[in-house]
Amino acid sequence: MDETTCIVRNTWNFSRFYHHESCGQCSPCREGTGWLEKVLHRLEHGHGSLHDIDLLVSVAKQIEGNTICPLGEAAAWPVAAAVRHFRDEFEWHVKHPQEATRPGAVYPGKAVLA
């Protein structure tokens, strides 16, 4: 992972993992991890809206702290943190879906950081 890694794709990958790992006993984690994954899938594939970005934060907050075990937090925190630190990249996916979904696409904002 370096500065060319797509944050949205990476976060989606995280939540895909936690969705798969959730044991399904408690409702916030069972339903929430799947929800996060679906919304991130949408964003990554260029079908998201700006509204979805706030939805992610809100769903992550609904999971965090309310589950039986820490898997809920583990699923929620990377998503909330990614949006907190890389919101511009999420917005780029929404506003420029064609560019962002091109294979090997790199968020242009990153070049400035490097």
Partner: protein, 333 residues
Amino acid sequence: MAKITFDGIEVEVPDGTTILNAARTIGGGIVPPAMCYYTPLKGSGGKCRACLVRVAAGSTKDPRPMPKLVASCITPVQDGMVVENTTSEQVLNVRKGIVEMLLINHPLDCPVCDQAGECDLQNFAFEHGVSTTRYEEERRTFEKIDIGPLIQLHMTRCILCYRCVYTADQLTPERVHGVLGRGDASEIGTYIENIIDNDFSGNVIDVCPVGALTDKTWRFKQRVWFTKPVNAHRDCPKCTGNVVLWYKGKDVLRITARKNEYGEVKEWICNECRFEKKETSDWTIEGPAHIDRTSVISANHYELPVINPQIIADLPESSVRDLEQNPPLKLGN
């Protein structure tokens, strides 16, 4: 004994009581909702997170607040504990979130669901949820499965409270009913669609808070609010024989166990009483059954939950006045 303060009301309960049961001794609108906890079933609770409350002070010895909200149905009280339920904005918001989570994959087919009118999820969503959804994806669905000739499982409606699993485990000698899979792909199943075949299997219908497990002899016969519940008993060699008959006109459409005000079965009944004795002549009638909940069954006689009069008598005058002005609560009869 441990003395705790729940939403500003002091109550003394035996050590080891859970916060939820302490709240239930107070009664009324301050009792946290419970979607998975079921008093008669050992080990139930802790799953749905509907009953989360904030512990503002852990105990007299260690009065720090607990860092996270706790599930009141499985957390025992400590002497000097201070708990906030309806008085905490955070708890109420989290509960809205729980309703949303339970509903995102729920079909909400109440108009064709046999549970409608006595559904814990309807009540929970109505009392604690918001009326909109933010979920746009396709909902999870399953095929309907017959579990034997008398019970049907409609997994799409299941909220995975695990009550039926505990019932099958604790009431029947050979358990064939459990949870398969994990995460949001978990489903209640009877390995290779086995028939649950024993005398008490019908009780899974009563414990199910939603319309996931339904009585096949009753499916689509009538809406519950058009039927009249009547208490009756018979001499049954297998169970206590205390039941509720649900009448429409002269016909007994359905038979269930008696439930308390929190929807918990008082005495388990056997399948013979439940499925086979649908004639008035099989029963000794006791009189109309009282439906304790704020259910549509009690059409036009809605009852607000009432605080235990004993608790009120012990409260200082000023807090009683406060409580009276606090909408979800009603004092006395």
